[in-house]
Structures are given as structure tokens and as C-alpha cells.
């Protein structure tokens, strides 16, 4: 009987563990998105070529990250969005990791 209980309960433990690790992964992805957005915004503000700014930013970003660059008056606004960890992907309630950086263009 104990064996049967364990057979049911251990997958539950594994599922909880998997969710927790995925949530940790999500947090790390958010940090990496933040760093990527800041790198791209800074480089564009300094007048670097968009292609090299994009390349440098995506180097540290999570796989599959998307970059949106928008010029807003004297500022440049960079939004980086990354996909959810695979375990969390089916959960509609969890938002994708996303980061925004704004930098003032240098004269």
C-alpha cells in the first residue's frame, strides 16, 4: 500500500519541483531581458549601428527573445520579450518575461 501511495505522490513532488525550477528560470530570463534591453538602448543612444546594437543585446538574451526598438522624440525605447520556460508555457496566467529600457539619444 505504501508503495502505491509513493507511486502516486512522488510524481506530484516532481511536478512541484519542476514548476519551481521553471519559475526560477523565468526570473533569470527576466533579468537577462532587462540587461539586453539596456545594452541595446545604450548603444543606440550612443549612435552605434542598429545591427551591432541588436547583435550585442541578443547575445546575452534568452533564446528566442524578440526586440522592439522605437524612437520616441529624443529617446529610444527598447522592449525585449522572451518566451516562457517550456514547463510554464501552457499556463495562460503567467506573463512572458519582458523588459523595457529607455535612453536619451546623445547629440
Amino acid at each position: 500500500m505504501v508503495t502505491v501511495e509513493l507511486a502516486v505522490a512522488i510524481p506530484a513532488l516532481v511536478a512541484v519541483l519542476a514548476l519551481c525550477l521553471a519559475a526560477l528560470d523565468l526570473g533569470l530570463r527576466q533579468v537577462r531581458c532587462d540587461a539586453a534591453a539596456r545594452t541595446v538602448a545604450r548603444q543606440l543612444a550612443r549612435g552605434e549601428a542598429p545591427a551591432s546594437a541588436r547583435r550585442d543585446g541578443l547575445r546575452g538574451a534568452p533564446d528566442g527573445a524578440r526586440l522592439i526598438v522605437r524612437r520616441e522624440g529624443a529617446d529610444v525605447r527598447v522592449t525585449v520579450t522572451a518566451p516562457l520556460p517550456a514547463v510554464l508555457a501552457p499556463l495562460a496566467a503567467v506573463a512572458e518575461p519582458r523588459a523595457v529600457a529607455v535612453a536619451r539619444l546623445e547629440q
Partner: protein, 176 residues
């Protein structure tokens, strides 16, 4: 069981063993569920705490990065001979979800700003502040590439996170 012999004794022994094993099973029934439930609870509590810390690290990171960009925005006009524009720093901080809490020009002409970011991971953990702050310094640096704007990382050693978590908030301190 080793001392019993003869068919009758052996069958008695087997039935005794079966009864004993049934009794043990009855007594232990549910014990594995309780153990695993405890383990699941422990994992959940520990990971909730870890998640709060990860959220705090993310907010600190964001505060530090936003302070950097806000300082650069505020110091922008000084690169072309103007005076620091703290409103530009405030604007950049606000657009990135932060608030400019201080902005001042230092004796060497560089600008030091501090921004605060609300902590998103609200928690039951004691000592978790409602906001975290980051500060950075930006100014004109003269290097081989000519005059250009630099921030904390270019002016001093790279920005470091301080480990001191005070009630008022965590501080991501750049160089002095």
C-alpha cells in the same frame, strides 16, 4: 520462523506472517502520503522564498540599469557644454517604470542620480522592502576615443550591488 518444522507449523507460520504484514500495512497506510505532502510543502515554501529573492534581484538589476540610463540622460547636455538636465533623467526613469529620487551635479561636473523601483514580488517574507533603489554617476570622460559620455561603469570600477538590505530599501551603489 526458522525453528518451526512440519507442514502444520509451517502453514501456521505463513498465516501468522500474512496477518502480521496486513497489520503493518494498516498501520503504515497513509504514512507515505503524509511524508510526500510534507516534502511538497517544504519545496513549495522554499521555492516561494527563492522566487521572492529572484524577484528582488531582478528589481535591483532594473533599478541599477535604469539609474545608469537616467544618469546618462541627465548628463547629456554636459557633453556639449551645457548644464545637467535632471528632468531628462526623471523622464527616462519614469518611462522605465522607476522614479527619480535624487539628482545632483558633483564638483567634477558629473551627475549622480538615484532611482527607486517598486518591488513586484510582494511577500510574507520579513525584511523585504516595498521599493529598491539604484544609483549611478554619469559624466564626460576623455579617453582615446575623444570626449564622450560615460556612466558609473566607465568612470569608476563597475557598479556593484551592496548586500546591505535596510528597511528603507536595498541600495545598488555605484562608485563614490
Amino acid at each position: 520462523m526458522t525453528t518451526v518444522s512440519g507442514p502444520t507449523s509451517r502453514s501456521y507460520g505463513r498465516s501468522w506472517q500474512r496477518n502480521r504484514s496486513a497489520a503493518t500495512s494498516d498501520r503504515e497506510q497513509g504514512s507515505a502520503t503524509v511524508l510526500v505532502a510534507a516534502a511538497v510543502g517544504l519545496v513549495a515554501v522554499v521555492s516561494a522564498a527563492v522566487l521572492v529573492v529572484v524577484g528582488l534581484v531582478r528589481d535591483l538589476h532594473h533599478a541599477r540599469g535604469t539609474a545608469d540610463l537616467a544618469a546618462l540622460a541627465a548628463a547629456g547636455p554636459t557633453a556639449v557644454g551645457g548644464i545637467a538636465d535632471c528632468s531628462a533623467g526623471a523622464w527616462v526613469a519614469r518611462r522605465a517604470g522607476a522614479r527619480l529620487v535624487s539628482c545632483r551635479t558633483l564638483a567634477d561636473g558629473s551627475v549622480r542620480v538615484a532611482v527607486s523601483v517598486p518591488v513586484q514580488a510582494r511577500s510574507w517574507l520579513p525584511g523585504v522592502p516595498a521599493t529598491v533603489s539604484g544609483s549611478a554617476r554619469a559624466g564626460v570622460v576623455d579617453d582615446s576615443g575623444g570626449r564622450r559620455l560615460g556612466s558609473s561603469s566607465a568612470l569608476d570600477r563597475p557598479v556593484e550591488l551592496t548586500a546591505s538590505a535596510r528597511r528603507a530599501g536595498l541600495t545598488a551603489a555605484g562608485g563614490a
